[in-house]
Structure formats: structure tokens, C-alpha cells
């Protein structure tokens, strides 16, 4: 029963849009899936103590490179998205390699990457002749309707399935890392870098691998968001606020479990939507208020996040919890 549960859940998720296709709930689901994927990408490195506040930058690169190469060069997103991933990866290497080489860790790593997301945001705003600046940017519609070539679809069900596939791929990547030697190497590094190096772990290479993977996945999330929403602005896909949002959602959901980021996305997005619907414009600010309090309470009392703590509760009666 336990083994078949993921398959049943997966089949239910795939079947959903064929049975039920009210646009608004599907839209919320798509948004949740895209952000879940972004949060999962962040947690790939975040769970090893590599706390990056630069992922807003990678997401912005993903979205803007895809949109700019479509509008200005006429490149289909099928070429534009790999380009965007490449750009995100190169940027990650440029910043992360010196960081790891010079052993910039902890607070310092978080702040260097914070500067990175600041740079991406300011560059997007400064090049307003090409990117539209803070007013935002829209990829041009391809002859009005849906097109596989332009990766533009008017139906929500198509987007739901795409987002679902990408999200599942993200979880698969998480599990691949979880089962690999890389995981043990990175856990050793996060405990004690010198010890890990002495034990034969190539510290810089291992950290760089996971960082590039995480950055490229985040760039993909940005590209996907851009293609789905057909509107991006520096504040919605890049910058420090987005970076913090990623970190917070993951911490609320649970940083050490595969579905933690997804749970974090569901909770934060549903909270914002419920408050918005039930209170309308009066709710401006209330969602973040609740969110901020929750976050502090979580970090003080439930540092493993909602899902992490629930799983531990379930495990506990059977014997001592394995850390």
C-alpha cells in the first residue's frame, strides 16, 4: 500500500484536468506547481547548509533570457530556455566558484548571493530600453493562439500538465541527489569542511555541482513562469524579495524532506489567496503579517518545518527517530 501510494497520487494529479477544469482552481494549481518547483530547486542546495539568497537572480535570468530571445532575436523558447539555463549556470559558476574556492560560507555566502540578486534586479531595471524596466515585460503573442513552436497555450489544462511534469522532474532530481554519493559528501561538508576534505571529498567540486544544478533548475522555473504568465517584471521574478520568499516557504514546509518545499508553496499561496478572497483589498498586508509570525514561530519551535515535523511525529512511536 505504501509503495503504491505515490503512483495513485500521481495518476490522480494527471487525471485531474480531464475531470475538472474550472479555470481559477487550475490557475492556482499551476502557480503552486511552478513555485513548488522553484522552491524544490532552492532546497536542493539549501538542505546542505548552502543558503543562497541569490536564487531570485537565477529565476530572473531564466525568465528574462527566454522572453528577450523570443522578442528580440526571434528564438523559439525551445532554444531560448536552454540558453536561459546556460546563462543561469554560467552566472552560478562565476559567483559560486570563487566563493567556494576562498571558503566563503554561512552568513558570508548568504550575503554575497544577496548582492547577486541585487545586481540582477538592478541590471534588469537599468536596461529598461530592452527589458521594459520596472514596468515589466511581455513576450509577444505568436499569431494569437496556442502554438507548440512558441510554447504558448491558451488552455489551462495544457499548462497544468506541463507544470506537473516539470515539478515531478524536480522531485525526481531531488531523489537522485538524495540517493547519491554527492549527498553524503555534501552532508559531510556541511558538518565540517576540513574533515570532509581530509576524508577525500573534493569540497569545491561537490558544492559547485549542486549549486549549478540548483541554479539551472531555478532558471527553468523562471522561464516556465514567464511562458505561463506571459508577463514578467523585476519584482515578480527577481530580486531580494523573491529570494527571501523562496527561503521562507521552504523553511515553513520543511527543508529536509522532498515534499517540504511543495507543502510550503501550498501553504503560502493558499494563505495569500484565502485572505485575498475573504477580505479583498482590506487584506493588503495581512497575508504577510500571518506569514511573518508563522515563520518566526516555526523557526523557534518547529525548525524542521510542517511536513518534516509531521513525518517525525509519525515515525516516533515506532522507535527512536533517526536524524
Amino acid at each position: 500500500m505504501r509503495r503504491s501510494l505515490p503512483w495513485i497520487a500521481g495518476a490522480a494529479l494527471i487525471g485531474l484536468p480531464f475531470v475538472y477544469h474550472a479555470p481559477y482552481p487550475l490557475h492556482i494549481l499551476i502557480i503552486i506547481l511552478i513555485w513548488s518547483f522553484a522552491y524544490t530547486s532552492w532546497s536542493m542546495m539549501g538542505r546542505f547548509g548552502l543558503v543562497s539568497l541569490g536564487h531570485g537572480g537565477f529565476m530572473g535570468i531564466g525568465a528574462y533570457v527566454t522572453a528577450l530571445s523570443w522578442n528580440h532575436v526571434g528564438l523559439t523558447p525551445w532554444v531560448g530556455i536552454p540558453l536561459a539555463l546556460l546563462a543561469g549556470g554560467v552566472l552560478a559558476v562565476l559567483v559560486a566558484y570563487p566563493c567556494f574556492r576562498f571558503r566563503i560560507t554561512g552568513h558570508y555566502f548568504a550575503l554575497v548571493t544577496l548582492a547577486l540578486s541585487g545586481i540582477v534586479l538592478q541590471v534588469i531595471t537599468a536596461t529598461r530600453d530592452q527589458t521594459g524596466g520596472s514596468l515589466g515585460y511581455t513576450p509577444e503573442r505568436y499569431r494569437g493562439g496556442s502554438s507548440l513552436y512558441a510554447l504558448q497555450f491558451s488552455g489551462k489544462a495544457t499548462w497544468y500538465l506541463i507544470a506537473l511534469a516539470v515539478w515531478a522532474a524536480g522531485l525526481y532530481a531531488w531523489h537522485r541527489v538524495d540517493r547519491s554519493m554527492t549527498r553524503y559528501a555534501l552532508e559531510a561538508i556541511s558538518e565540517d569542511e576540513d574533515g570532509a576534505a581530509a576524508a577525500g571529498v573534493h569540497v569545491t567540486a561537490e558544492k559547485l555541482k549542486i549549486t549549478v544544478l540548483s541554479a539551472m533548475m531555478t532558471a527553468l522555473a523562471g522561464a516556465l513562469y514567464c511562458q505561463y504568465q506571459m508577463f514578467i517584471s523585476p519584482d515578480t521574478v527577481s530580486g531580494i524579495a523573491i529570494s527571501l520568499q523562496m527561503v521562507f516557504a521552504v523553511v515553513v514546509g520543511g527543508i529536509y524532506v522532498s515534499l517540504g518545499p511543495t507543502v510550503g508553496a501550498v501553504i503560502t499561496i493558499l494563505l495569500a489567496e484565502v485572505l485575498r478572497i475573504s477580505f479583498g483589498t482590506r487584506a493588503v498586508g495581512w497575508d504577510n503579517l500571518v506569514y511573518g509570525v508563522l515563520l518566526v514561530v516555526f523557526i523557534v519551535f518547529l525548525p524542521k518545518g510542517i511536513l518534516g515535523s509531521l513525518l517525525e511525529l509519525r515515525r516516533r512511536p515506532r522507535g527512536p527517530a533517526a536524524c
Partner: protein, 289 residues
């Protein structure tokens, strides 16, 4: 003098004055950072609350501005203590990143509390300080004032840290937090005092910033990140380094803004920060050991 030279000179001077504001901003954060080893991500939001305090006291309740400033400094100091006791103290033993994130939660909380309570309108004191005119140069008094206050604040903090018993204990704790407890220093008391001082400096910054800028719930985001970068660039807890870093940053922003756009000024400052982290990770003025 040619026209360009005037602009260049004005940009340079404005850079120096902006540097004063940034130095003042980073002073309190640097103290908390250096002593308690915790990053108050919500530091800029404390300043935002201080600015609102000034606005309400001066504009709504017609309190004299000097008294309002004192109330505001003490008030934000108390907020600093509350922040420490409620959020930081339970997390002192936790992973550093959890402390960072918890104060991040406080950031969201304060920002949205301000949105809910005060609305999103921009507010200002309605007070315009005169502009100093030196032949063809224009220099704003409020910036001069902030510059002077930053200098005085730094000297006072320096004297407090080096000339008083409590100050010596604070520096000792910053050097070795395990040993000092054995030496009979009550680290909890020292942390509370440091938090009050850090909060008070945030309050001082608020009093001076509100003279130049409008206050709104998201004002903290516009200078918060820069403040952290300055502290790190200068070296944590290294006040002189923080001061120099503030001026380097301010000149980069000011000159970048003169020749290109203001955004490029910020880009240069951020790139400079990242490069310097690789070259001198211990801070600009670190002694080579």
C-alpha cells in the same frame, strides 16, 4: 570651471554625504553583528518604525521635534531589546541561518504590520531644511546633518566601547563568547545592552532619514540590503572599516549615477562588494595576520 566639473564635484560631495547616511545606518547593525553574531535582517524595518514614530509624534501629535527624536531613539532601543528577548535569545544556540531567517520573519511581520496600521501612502514631515549654496554647488543641510550625526555617533560608540566597563565587557564577549562567561561576565545582560544600543542607533538613523526621505512600509527594502553589504565589506564589528566601506559604496553609487543611471551605480557597488569578498574576505581594513 566647466559644467561637467561642477557636476562631478557635486556628485563627489553628494557621495560623501550619502556615505555619512550609510555609515550611520550601518553603525547599529555592525555593533549587533559584531557582538551577538546575529544578522538583524529586519534592521531597516526598525528604522522604518522609527521614521513612522517621528511622523506621528511631530505631525499628528505636535510634539517638539527634539523631544520626538529622543522618544523615537529610546522607543526603537526598546524595540531592539524586545526583538532580542523574544526572537534572538531562544535561537542563540541554533544554526546561524535560523537566526537570519527568524529575523527575516520579523521583517515580513513589521512590514505588513505597518501596511495594515498605517496604509501604503507615502508620508513626510512636511519640513524642508534649507539648501546650502556654495557659489554653484548645492548641498542639502539634512545630508550634512546626517553626516555630522554619523561622525558623532561613531565617536560616542567608540568611547563607550573603550572607556567604560560595560563597553570593555562587550568587546571581550565579541572576542570570545565562551571564555568571558567563565570570567564572570553575564553574557545575557551584555546582549540586552548591545541590542538596546543597536536599536537606539537605528532610532537615531530614523530621525535623520525622515528629514530626507518619505516614509512608507517598504522603505526598509530600499536601503536594508546595502546596509548589510557595507557591514560585511567593512568587516563584521569593525567600525572604522564599516565607515570606509560606506563612503566607497556611496561614491560608487553617486559617480555611477552621474555617468550612467542610478541603477548602474548600484550594480557597480554590488559587483565591487562581490569582488572585494574574494580579495579581502575579512573586510577592507582587516589586519593581515
Amino acid at each position: 570651471m566647466g559644467v561637467l566639473d561642477i557636476f562631478l564635484l557635486e556628485a563627489l560631495i553628494n557621495g560623501v554625504l550619502l556615505g555619512g547616511v550609510l555609515a550611520l545606518l550601518s553603525l547599529g547593525l555592525n555593533l549587533v553583528f559584531g557582538v551577538i553574531d546575529v544578522v538583524w535582517i529586519c534592521y531597516a524595518e526598525l528604522i522604518m518604525l522609527g521614521m513612522y514614530g517621528m511622523y506621528f509624534l511631530y505631525v499628528v501629535y505636535h510634539v517638539p521635534i527634539g523631544l520626538a527624536a529622543v522618544v523615537c531613539i529610546v522607543g526603537v532601543g526598546i524595540l531592539g531589546v524586545i526583538l532580542h528577548v523574544v526572537v534572538i535569545a531562544p535561537l542563540l544556540g541554533a544554526a546561524p541561518i535560523n537566526q537570519l531567517l527568524a529575523t527575516g520573519g520579523v521583517l515580513f511581520f513589521l512590514q505588513s504590520a505597518a501596511t495594515v496600521l498605517f496604509g501604503i501612502e507615502f508620508r513626510n514631515l512636511g519640513l524642508r531644511l534649507p539648501v546650502l549654496k556654495l557659489s554653484e554647488l548645492f548641498i542639502s543641510y539634512s545630508r550634512l546633518l546626517a553626516f555630522g550625526a554619523a561622525l558623532i555617533g561613531m565617536v560616542l560608540v567608540y568611547l563607550f566601547l573603550t572607556r567604560t566597563y560595560t563597553g570593555t565587557a562587550i568587546r571581550a564577549i565579541a572576542q570570545d563568547r565562551q571564555i568571558m562567561i567563565l570570567m564572570g561576565v553575564d553574557s545575557r545582560r551584555i546582549y540586552v545592552i548591545t541590542s538596546a544600543l543597536g536599536g537606539g542607533l537605528a532610532g537615531l538613523a530614523a530621525c535623520l532619514l525622515v528629514l530626507q526621505y518619505d516614509v512608507h512600509p517598504f522603505v526598509g527594502l530600499s536601503f536594508g540590503p546595502i546596509t548589510f553589504l557595507i557591514c560585511v565589506l567593512g568587516g563584521l564589528g569593525n567600525f572604522a572599516g564599516g565607515f570606509v566601506a560606506a563612503f566607497v559604496f556611496a561614491e560608487l553609487i553617486s559617480l555611477g549615477g552621474l555617468y550612467l543611471d542610478l541603477e548602474w551605480g548600484y550594480v557597480f557597488a554590488f559587483v565591487f562588494f562581490i569582488v572585494m569578498m574574494f580579495v579581502r574576505p575579512e573586510g577592507l581594513l582587516a589586519r593581515r595576520s
